[in-house]
Assembly symmetry: none
Homo-oligomer: 223 residues x 2
């Protein structure tokens, strides 16, 4: 089992890796991210290396091992699920939840996480629009995702999530048959109000406002 502090280091290293492509996280960068000193980072990184959670060579920066990545992603999963809970169920504003989720993410109980996920109807995005990793640690890369409103005429995509996860919006999508996994083609975009006509696999067409297309996340399909 990893300590609260170890978990925070892994999370910081993970998110630094996201930002700077495939280079390892530097000692200083980690120190800045965690508001601590470089020497403390060196100590901790050695410990994480012993536990096979990071790859570390002196002076060469740090990367997560598969094991370390899986721990980090699980914490991010919990963080984002709790954020959904706080906003959707307890009516916090999206900008008030970070510090509380920062504490809740360390609660240890896989069963709790699973049940929370279910209670929240398996949300795919947190209130800030960041994707929530699934229980196996699969996480949608933000790079390979677009808002439906960003697609151009003729482009194909599959619905992978929503930005607005209010029950009103989800209801609306369901009424329109726009659901998770739905495949679609952008048939036409109307200049006037940026509303969009889309075609489903079964040939049916619907028109949606930009407000809607701006809150639906899709993965582009290239063929």
């Amino acid at each position: 089992m990893n300590s609260y502090t170890e978990e925070n280091y892994l999370k910081a290293i993970y998110s630094l890796a996201q930002k700077s492509e495939n280079k390892g996280a530097s000692t200083n960068a980690i120190a800045t991210a965690l508001a601590t000193k470089a020497s403390s980072v060196t100590d901790m990184v050695k410990k994480l290396a012993e536990k096979k959670l990071v790859n570390y060579k002196k002076y060469q920066g740090v990367t997560l091992t598969e094991k370390g990545k899986s721990v980090a992603v699980n914490i991010i999963r919990k963080h984002r699920l709790w954020e959904v809970f706080l906003v959707d169920k307890l009516n916090f504003k999206w900008d008030e939840v970070h510090d509380i989720a920062e504490q809740l993410e360390h609660i240890k109980s896989p069963e709790l996480t699973q049940r929370l996920d279910q209670f929240l109807d398996f949300p795919k995005f947190d209130p800030h629009g960041d994707p929530i990793p699934d229980a196996e640690g699969n996480i949608l890369n933000h790079a390979e995702m677009n808002l439906l409103s960003e697609l151009k005429q003729g482009e194909k995509g599959v619905v992978v999530g929503v930005k607005d996860s209010s029950s009103g919006f989800l209801q609306h999508l369901e009424n329109q048959n726009l659901m998770l996994g739905t495949k679609l083609i952008v048939a036409q975009i109307f200049e006037y109000d940026q509303s969009m006509n889309i075609e489903f696999a079964d040939g049916n067409h619907i028109t949606i406002s930009q407000q809607v297309s701006h809150n639906v996340c899709v993965k582009k399909e290239i063929d």
Copy 2:
């Protein structure tokens, strides 16, 4: 702000004070409650005394100050609210929630506690039947409650809580169909070992040891 560990000490001292009327908690008793050593307790108690959270005189045991009591009660409030959440919203069994609530009770955010309370419709009792302190720290008096072992032959009662909330004990009760809200009559008490035969509303009878009846709380029903 108090550490996780300090909070656990305050909670332990509070609950020991409940049990043994108005005497201070002894060093050994605290050590046992927290599965630590007496010498560690002495160290921590000195620290809590410096912070004006407990009254402490060497060799004389410990009592909570008003400040310490208020911290302890707030943690108990959070613990019990989270237990309600886990059982009512996430469908955990009442004997599965203690360890998780033990972690959740330390989350620091008064706003969160308040909203959770509201989300749960301001519950007055946790799933084990223990009263939930309100935001000001007022807690319902356990006085109108008896241990099942205190009832006499022929007396009626309804199960409102447990003293031992270990999952082993709760499991045992469930197996015997002794649950929160269960109505019963004391059919017979066996002198030899003080074991007790009780009758349920449906006419079924079971016999329980004094160890069990001594850990079940009931509200007497007079008719």
